[in-house]
């Protein structure tokens, strides 16, 4: 039960500015994911919220109260570390009950609460073990259990799944989503994995170089990225970027010349467009094989995943990824033509900012909770 606000947070390490003025609003019971490339400041931001690091300037507010000067324990938050950071010399039970012990909670009460949390995470059979006798996934669950026992107002996670193998990661991802519903708590989650961000978040905060690039629901970021960085970062495989030339621009569309010489009109607002050299962004899944299509290229690499086949196609000087049907029969060396849905294409100006699309995608306002009740979906 808590909200969090960040106002113009700046963090400097010995003169280097690492966080450059971050503003953020986290609502009650929201699952917020910080995502961005390595070194962009995600952990630093999270650690400042946790109180493990001081903000150089700016305000951190929980439930409307400034807490910059409040110690980490008194903030009522719990953190799950990437390394799990379990206490190696204590049993699972003692690990989970450590905060209660420090808080002077009686032994019986402590045991009851630990067992309660252990039940949620299926940790009961492991309570007597030491961390080194646990698998990675079990350690992870103990670390989460330790957080649950504190009954925090906000959970903080710093890349909690990055040390697990792929299968376990998927399983823990689902478990965390379930936990979020069960505990009804506010959660802030750091990852550099955009799939984790897309699947778990109500709200994604894309960071780069200590600056927030965009905040929005997963579908919002996917369909309406604010700039080229977000467009390239969200979505897998990555969005293709083609250098195009402006032919004409109007409030109802921008006509551009494609690398092959053909022209097409993208339905974006070009009323304030001044640049001539633009970038067209098309996601691999929005490109189709089309005999009369405006783009053409030669296949250089084929990756077959069964359901989907990724074609890497050379179009002039760019290598374009196409997610094609699993059953395409083409071979390396084939020259093909491709088409794309104009409404799914993105156009970026010379500053790499996206031109606003004319129509909002029907799912852009959808958030994860809406998935539960189909009647709400469609959010227009």
């Amino acid at each position: 039960m808590a909200t969090l606000q960040l106002h113009n947070i700046v963090k400097r390490f010995e003169g280097t500015e690492v966080i450059k003025g971050v503003d953020l609003e986290v609502n009650d019971r929201e699952f917020v994911v910080f995502v961005g490339p390595s070194g962009c400041g995600k952990s630093t931001l999270l650690r400042m919220i946790a109180g493990l690091e001081n903000a150089t300037s700016g305000d951190i507010m929980i439930d409307g109260k400034r807490i910059n000067e409040v110690g980490p324990a008194e903030r009522g938050l719990a953190m799950v570390f990437q390394s799990y950071a379990l206490y190696p010399h204590m049993t699972v039970e003692d690990n989970m009950g450590f905060s209660l012990k420090l808080g002077g909670v009686s032994k019986e009460e402590r045991q009851r609460k630990v067992r309660e949390a252990a039940a949620i995470l299926q940790l009961e059979p492991l309570l007597e073990r030491k961390p080194k006798a646990l698998s990675g996934g079990q350690r992870q669950r103990v670390a989460i259990g330790r957080a649950i026992v504190r009954n925090p107002s906000i959970f903080l996670f710093d890349e909690p799944l990055s040390n697990l193998d792929a299968a376990l990661r998927v399983q823990m991802r689902i478990e965390l989503a379930r936990l979020h519903e069960e505990l009804d708590a506010t959660m802030i989650y750091v990852t550099h994995d955009q799939i984790e961000a897309m699947t778990m978040a109500d709200k994604i905060v894309v960071l780069q170089g200590g600056v927030v690039e965009q905040v929005g629901s997963p579908m919002e970021l996917y369909h309406h990225p604010r700039n080229r960085f977000v467009a390239g970062f969200i979505g897998s495989p990555k969005m293709n970027f083609l250098a195009v030339e402006r032919v004409s621009a109007s409030p109802t569309g921008v006509e551009v010349r494609l690398p092959g010489g053909e022209t097409c009109t993208v339905p974006v607002d070009g009323s304030s467009l001044r640049d001539d050299a633009l970038t067209l962004g098309i996601r691999p899944e929005h490109l189709q094989l089309e005999p009369e299509g405006p783009l053409s290229g030669r296949i250089e690499v084929i990756e077959r995943l069964g359901g989907v086949t990724s074609l890497y196609v050379r179009m002039q000087d760019t290598l374009v990824t196409v997610s094609a049907d699993g059953n395409v029969e083409n071979r390396v060396g084939d020259t093909l033509r491709f088409g794309f849905d104009r409404a799914c294409a993105h156009l970026f100006d010379a500053e790499d900012l996206a031109l606003p699309s004319l129509a909002r995608h029907p799912l852009a306002g959808l958030n994860r909770q809406d998935n539960r009740a189909p009647s709400v979906a469609g959010g227009q």
């Binding site: 980490p72 570390f81 190696p88 420090l102």
Partner: protein, 303 residues
């Protein structure tokens, strides 16, 4: 070098490419001695070095059981052991009084040094500043100053504060003497502890003191123990300060040994007997704790 020559000796390049495995085998078998032989050599070498280091001590112990006449005679391993030197030594000075001083001073200074060094090392390891490294090096560099250089000032200070020939005085000097090493060692042990663990403790509501008591100390206990053991041994063996700052009341075993060397000339057997008694406790102590010592000293290396 040898492998290179063999390789050049192989004439046709074609052969080289066809059977690389057999060629490699042919090249290596005669050159590398078998693991068994290697082990025997290493063991012999180890014993040799150990014996060389231990020999003076062994000789001293043997001499202690000789009569004065045998002790200055031509070195010989064959003699009739006698306790007369031990009896004579004990008749002249009360061994147990000196031994008690040694114990009190060695352990007292070690505890004091740890009490000061643990917080210092904590601060340096977990809250470093730009000057931490420099401070550490500076502390260590004070060990390079010859102690005699500060003998006069310390002597005068001790005289004015009434610390001459007191255990407290020796404890203070030994603490100061060992502090740089103790801080340095603890610093390296603490530095090896993942920060996350302490931060998790802080998130769990631990005060700095609780963090140290519940997390840091139990997790670095092997390191702390071996640091303490080293400090005890260094204090036990220290002679310069104990000879200069004590006379009778607080004199530890080093002073006890020294008292047998000067006045009436050298009595080798008695001197050896006294020395044997002086080093016996620390030798036994070291023997009992050697596992701990080694474990602590390799703490960081094997993790």
């Amino acid at each position: 070098m040898t492998t290179l020559k063999t390789k050049q000796a192989i004439p046709a390049e074609g052969h080289l490419a066809t059977t690389p495995a057999s060629e490699a085998r042919a090249r290596h078998t005669p050159l590398v001695p078998s693991a068994g032989a290697r082990r025997v050599w290493l063991t012999l070498l180890g014993w040799g070095i150990a014996l060389l280091i231990f020999f003076p001590i062994l000789w001293m112990v043997l001499t202690g059981f000789k009569s004065e006449a045998e002790a200055i005679a031509d070195p010989s391993l064959i003699f009739t052991p006698t306790l007369e030197s031990y009896v004579a030594v004990q008749a002249r000075a009360d061994y147990f009084k000196f031994a008690l001083n040694s114990v009190v001073v060695a352990f007292g200074s070690t505890l004091l040094a740890l009490a000061i060094a643990i917080p210092s090392a904590y601060a340096m390891a977990f809250l470093p500043t730009r000057r931490t490294k420099g401070t550490l090096l500076w502390m260590l560099s004070t060990k390079m100053l010859p102690p005699v250089g500060v003998l006069v000032p310390i002597y005068l200070i001790f005289r004015d504060f009434g610390l001459l020939d007191t255990r407290t005085g020796l404890i203070i000097v030994y603490t100061l003497m060992n502090l740089p090493i103790v801080v340095w060692m603890l610093y390296t042990f603490f530095k090896d502890l993942p920060r996350d663990i302490l931060e998790a403790g802080r998130m769990d509501g631990a005060s700095t003191f609780q963090e140290v008591v519940y997390l840091l100390l139990p997790l670095t206990l092997p390191g702390i123990a071996s640091t303490g053991l080293l400090s005890v041994i260094l204090s036990w063996n220290e002679a310069f300060w104990s000879l200069n700052l004590t006379s009778s009341n607080a004199a530890p075993l080093t002073a006890y040994i020294a008292s047998f060397s000067s006045p009436e000339g050298l009595f080798w057997a008695k001197l050896s007997a006294a020395s044997t008694m002086a080093i016996a406790p620390i030798l036994v102590f070291g023997w009992l704790t050697q596992k701990q010592m080694v474990r602590g000293l390799t703490f960081g290396a094997v993790k």
